[in-house]
Symmetry: C2
Subunit: 607 residues, 2 copies
């Protein structure tokens, strides 16, 4: 679990009960030669200000601000050796959240780092020392909310608000000095389980039941961040069963939380997951906009609508969700996913910050009020499964603090903090990490089309795996053409965007290549702007993706990772190479069988 904090000494046996105390402790232990005067300034909140003083530095901040400042100073000092004369920093978003999809049976939905850190066998099963390490990791990059259980609330997870509430309180106590507040995913239909005849959000008894539940929970965990809800999505219960809107559902829960300062985070991941593949009138990416835009302005003040960054579900390339651009009167969080569900299961190398930066280029600065990411953490020796996947947790923290963060700089900071590699190797590794997403994209589903993974487990290629299924994710490749026309002339998805984006993507002749098959249905003979045909571009990308992976593996072998990271990294690299070859060959064969068009460069495409 050391990763970027490897240079800090263990917290075992350390005593501290507040972020401020922890800040002092960390500074004195990590930088004993330096002198820091810590000056609490509650007005600064999470923010901090560093200034040079005679013989040392003065660090001002709110309680958590002092802690974030301390970690920033420590990590800077350890990585660069330098500290600025003056610096002030405060986070862009007040809620910087990790969503764990951990089940109480110990499994982790879409988890690739082993079993749950929190649960086992239907019970809370966390180790205080490990939780402190986790709290420190989160705090060290400014993350301040941890939702510990799966949004798909399976029994007995609701016990966290009931019989297991004392355990939740103890866990909150562990995280509190790290400035990390807990959040809990709740089951919208829980009142039924409690014996009520309905879970209708407008029913007075239901409202009273949730108010009572909130009271009990906040009596045990006074600083709980709030509740997270997945409703009417993928067969979860929700307000639709009672003919109520999602605003009515969310507001009812928000009302219960309001007296305690809690927020209600409501996920906007709602679509028809029982679509008939024959139905071409429904286009899944339109769903969130259609469900939520009519409700803009109707949500209570302490509701946050959590919207996935793209309109589908964490594919390697999706445009920014139109909902994030359109909703002006609703507080929103953007949801990212550190767990590599569709992006290689923490086997294939996949550094996300270049993708995130692209999203923020499209997203006006104050459109969202919070940032959330699905966890990539687990109980494995390497807490992120793949040692190099820790870069995604680290850079997510940096991004949530400041979306203007420099991607290359943040990755490089992580590399330097994590290993003592020679500087030339740091350059190589930084560059490999930064290019890893493009490499993965090249050998998998082409040009924004998505969903060519194996169904259910989502690792490895299966070009028609979702083609006749109920999930609304079709490419309809035939002998002549591939893709879905999502322009005004097609499904109309593009109409959900502002005019500028409609223009940007609406014409296949000017649409960026990498989004081409997201928006358009095109013949294989379509001429790209660089003169290549579409089919040739698909072949080229796939051969290049595989070649780049071969080179990646060779490069990784030359880096001086220490044990056991080296073995973990290299064994996963070999698995990635196998995966890349399967992807490359299967996608090329799939399109060659359909199109009959050979590779212009005569490379092997299997029959």
């Amino acid at each position: 679990m050391n990763t970027w904090l490897r240079l800090l000494s263990s917290l075992d046996g350390a005593v501290f009960s507040s972020p401020e105390e922890l800040a002092r402790l960390e500074l004195s232990r990590a930088l004993p030669e330096d002198s820091f005067a810590l000056v609490p300034d509650p007005a600064l909140g999470d923010g901090w200000r560093l200034s040079r003083s005679e013989g040392g530095w003065i660090l001002r901040g709110g309680g958590t601000g002092l802690l974030y400042g301390a970690y920033s100073v420590i990590l800077r000092r350890l990585a660069d050796g330098e500290l600025p004369e003056e610096e002030a920093s405060s986070p862009r978003y007040s809620l910087r959240m990790i969503n764990c999809w951990d089940n109480m049976d110990g499994t982790v939905e879409r988890g690739y780092s082993g079993r749950s850190l929190f649960f086992e066998g239907g019970r809370c099963a966390w180790e205080p020392a490990r939780m402190r390490e986790l709290g420190r990791l989160l705090a060290s990059v400014g993350l301040n909310v941890l939702c510990i259980n799966n949004v798909n609330v399976h029994e007995p997870a609701q016990q966290l608000l009931e019989d297991s509430l004392p355990e939740l309180a103890r866990l909150a106590d562990v995280f509190r000095p790290f400035g990390v507040r807990l959040m809990v995913s709740v089951d919208f239909s829980r009142p039924l389980h409690a014996g009520l005849p309905t879970a209708d959000p407008l029913d007075p008894e239901v409202r009273a039941w949730w108010r009572g539940t909130a009271e009990k929970v906040y009596a045990a965990v006074p600083d709980l961040a709030g509740f997270l809800v997945k409703a009417d999505s993928e067969n979860r219960p929700g307000p639709y069963a009672y003919g109520r809107t999602h605003a009515e559902g969310a507001n009812m829960l928000a009302e219960a939380l309001a007296p305690f300062g809690g927020v209600l985070v409501w996920r906007a991941f709602v679509y028809n997951c029982h679509q008939d593949w024959r139905d071409t009138g429904t286009d899944r990416p339109k769903a969130a906009f259609e469900h939520y835009m009519p409700l803009d302005g109707q949500f209570a003040e302490n509701v946050i609508l959590q919207v996935k960054h793209g309109p589908f579900d964490f594919q390697v390339r999706e445009p920014l969700s139109p909902l994030l651009l359109a909703m002006r009167q609703t507080a929103m969080a953007m949801e990212l996913q550190l767990a590599q569900e569709y992006t290689g299961h923490q086997i294939d190398l996949y550094t996300m910050i270049p993708m995130w930066k692209e999203l923020f280029e499209e997203l006006p600065p104050n459109r969202i009020t919070a940032l959330a990411a699905v966890s990539n953490l687990g109980r494995d020796v390497c807490i992120t499964g793949h040692p190099l996947a820790a870069v995604n947790l680290y850079t997510f923290g940096r991004l949530a603090w400041d979306p203007a963060v420099d991607a290359a700089g943040a990755v490089r900071d992580w590399v330097r903090l994590t290993w003592a590699l020679p500087e030339a190797q740091e350059d190589v590794l930084t560059s490999l990490l930064l290019s890893s997403r493009r490499t993965y994209e090249k050998y998998t589903a082409p040009l924004g089309i998505g969903w060519m993974v194996n169904p259910h487990d989502h690792y490895g290629p299966n070009p028609s795996g979702y083609e006749y299924d109920q999930w609304g994710t079709y490419h309809k490749a035939d002998r002549n053409a591939v893709g879905i026309d999502r322009t005004h002339a097609g499904t109309g998805y593009l109409d959900q965007y502002p005019e500028a984006l409609r223009r940007k993507y609406g014409d296949p002749a000017s649409c960026a290549d990498l989004y081409l098959l997201f928006y358009h249905r095109l013949p294989y003979t379509w001429r790209m702007r660089d003169g290549r045909t579409l089919i040739q571009r698909i072949y080229d990308d796939h051969f290049e993706g595989y070649e780049e992976t071969k080179a990646l593996v060779e490069s990784l072998k030359k880096l001086d990772f220490p044990a056991p990271d080296r073995e973990l990294i290299l064994s996963r690299a070999e698995m990635q190479l196998t995966d890349a070859r399967e992807w490359c060959d299967i996608i090329n064969t799939f399109f060659h069988r359909l199109s009959g068009i050979p590779d212009e460069r005569g490379r092997t495409i299997y029959p």
Copy 2:
């Protein structure tokens, strides 16, 4: 569990300890008005002879012969009211076997009738009364061997020969009066588990270990039929690990069983289940022949090589396995599958005897010495899941007794014994059952091509589900053509057959339509003998298959099945209709996307 024995009174409380006693009991209870003199004649063995005498009949037979004669007489009398003046019957095969794929955790591999009848929670968990009903069902159609555990021997199934041996003995006691002997699937590598350093079949210690095991087992179950082994198949252990042949492996076990009269049944289902889809030099249906033909003549006398009826794995249409024709110096069993693994999971209606009869048309009468079928039984209210699936168990018994049995007659007997339907409805149902396989075949994978099912669970369509996988089951459909050329010019599979069959199937111009895509790769524009193109034939079959299913459902609704059978049958019929529509539309869309050729008759093919 009544099915075709519904007219017999319950065995509850009945006392009998041998087949002969049971025969007397059954006759006296079922036909109290008739007088039967039972004359034991050990020389007749399983056979029996009925003759008219003054005031009654004389039934002669070995112990089991009397029992089989009794059931034959009873069922004939109950169904037809008539008995012949003279009749003699003896079974074609001395071993008529049911193979249960039941695991000791209570699951049944490829089971569609609920949980195991024998096991639960890692233990034997059978109910004597239910076992007696099962024994009676088997005996009533002449089945005499029951292998109770899965050929994939998962822990703790080997305990049947060890700690659970007393339970096995008690179970054998229950089945003995029914003339049913038990068989046990064993794990070839078991000596390793017992602490031996090897499971090498030529190792003296290993041989001694198996001899000792057989001694212990036969001390407890003196009439055990023998062992069943799946070795070196789908990741099961086997002699190949020690550089030994399968003859050496089988003979070693046979030697241990020989002193006790046991047989060693060795499955010939061996192929490369880790094939690279890119490898076109390997053709899975060739595998069994390649593995076993070189061993012909090397097997011990009490070894039976159990060969699946087709060279693949229980597809809706496969030619007869060439091994069954070629091996002349080896005792062989043909393996059928009552469990509808690839043929509708006991949801879709699928009566097998028309298919079996086709197999026996190709198979010389004395080429095999035994017949086996994978069980379709389980703990559901309806023991075969679908009430109409019981016809497959019944007719399998009839077939194993006499492969010359008339298919229509046997099905009609089953219908009449199972329900008291008006005669016109018996005709309708018999006809629906007899045509059900062709209907299923029409709407699923076309013309012998196989393997367009969903991977793993094997229900429902997935035209490319196995296309890039490791199982050696590819159709390689592209925009021009579909199928694998298995002639001499292709993979050479056809060369494994005798000359007459090579001629029969080798030329696509004369090859029977229904085997066309098993043997040949052909363009969609290929002209069939009836003038239709191949693609049109595919479309026609699929539309017809769906239309026939609609008609089937309507016909079933009109039949006067009693409760609860009626509800079970009609609810499954609705599921079959949904399945047939998915198959029809998906297969047509799949081939239309590839070929671009419209349906000549303008029916809807979805884009």
